[in-house]
Symmetry: C2
Subunit: 230 residues, 2 copies
């Protein structure tokens, strides 16, 4: 008996440079490609087992995202995270996050709210266990869920592109106990706004939440310098 055609998933073949883009993006975000350092084109070719052509296409794409800086005839460099960058990026993220809050309250379904409450409880559990890695992970999912609920692909794309640029910093920046408690509390407020469909309120909470995050990262940056290269 042969399976029906409809039962088969659509086979969408990804091209090599797309995979590379994601792979290298991940390397930048998790820090294995450090900010301020040169991108070792040859090494990456060996590592991924590809030629320079698709690799360089991926680099161009990442540069458009702002994760890399291309200097003509001098190659690609991992963009540094500077104080100025953060002060630039966070207000923009704030504006986008505020919008996502408003839109999410307009479009979110009851089922989605319930799902998010579950996620939230899970996160609180990790907070109580002081399990930072899992806390971060679930946290990420919650913010993604808010974006999804906003039903605006453009917004999601723009936000994610900015978030990627600062996520590197957020990963390494350790939270104090107080900040962590505060962040968790803010998340409780986020949930309540969602449950009340209070778009205005959610806007404000999300913006505050982000501003506090900025403060954390800023503190960390003060104590941690990066390589001097551009």
């Amino acid at each position: 008996m042969t399976p029906t055609l409809a039962a088969q998933p659509v086979f969408r073949r990804k091209s090599l440079h797309e995979d590379l883009t994601e792979g290298i993006r991940e390397q930048i975000v998790n820090g294995s490609l450090a900010p301020g350092t040169k991108v070792p084109e040859k090494e990456l070719c060996l590592h991924y087992g590809v030629s320079r052509t698709p690799l360089r296409e991926a680099l161009k794409a990442l540069a458009t995202d702002g994760l890399l800086t291309l200097e003509p005839n001098r190659g690609a460099w991992v963009s540094k995270i500077t104080q100025e960058d953060l002060d630039e990026v966070f207000p923009v993220m704030g504006a986008l996050e505020a919008l996502s809050g408003e839109l999410a309250c307009k479009h979110i379904t009851a089922a989605e709210v319930r799902k998010m409450r579950t996620l939230h409880n899970k996160m609180v559990k990790y907070y109580e266990q002081r399990d930072l890695a899992n806390y971060f992970d679930v946290n990420q999912h919650i913010h993604e869920a808010i974006l999804d609920a906003a039903r605006n692909e453009t917004l999601s794309t723009q936000y994610r592109s900015l978030a990627t640029r600062v996520r590197r910093a957020r990963y390494v920046a350790n939270m104090t106990q107080e900040r962590w408690a505060q962040a968790t509390d803010e998340h409780e407020q986020i949930m309540q706004c969602l449950e009340k469909r209070d778009g205005q309120g959610l806007s404000v909470v999300l913006k505050t939440h982000l501003e506090n995050k900025l403060a954390t990262v800023r503190d960390w940056l003060k104590d941690n310098d990066q390589p001097p290269a551009a």
Copy 2:
């Protein structure tokens, strides 16, 4: 007598793919590459007199910007402007424009305000002469000036990338006399907010201004279909 070295401008050599990116972007924005059509890779190579390698790098970059859609093994297509796109893009632009208004009022200098008033007067003159092309041009400059005054590169970049996607539509969408008068009036309000450094007010006016623009473009879209290809 040889010129001194210092007198020479820093010769920043642009790489080929950067030029190409700009050239093709322009072709998309001004409509000579129509939405929904396939990008003729070979033709463009001949036109610009380059090989496929830098051209394809440019295409990748434009795809990251959302101006093109890449289908694996099937090439690049000019993204269509759909009703849904606009309804997605404009709220995001609105949020960014509101932020730019607030920031601009904080950072703009008196000299900049004067310069903008000059621009504004020029634009009004073109309005009175019903010179749409020049009106658009100066209009563009004014909005750029507001972005510049916000002193936030990230914001400018994000905004421009979105603006590019809808500019194609704005170009072709004809304004009615009423709409044109209204837009000009809104610009007068923008100037007054800037002169008073009224960030809140400017936010609101810019957002309204944009919403009206959306209405214009939306009307146009209703009457103008695009090729059916993805």
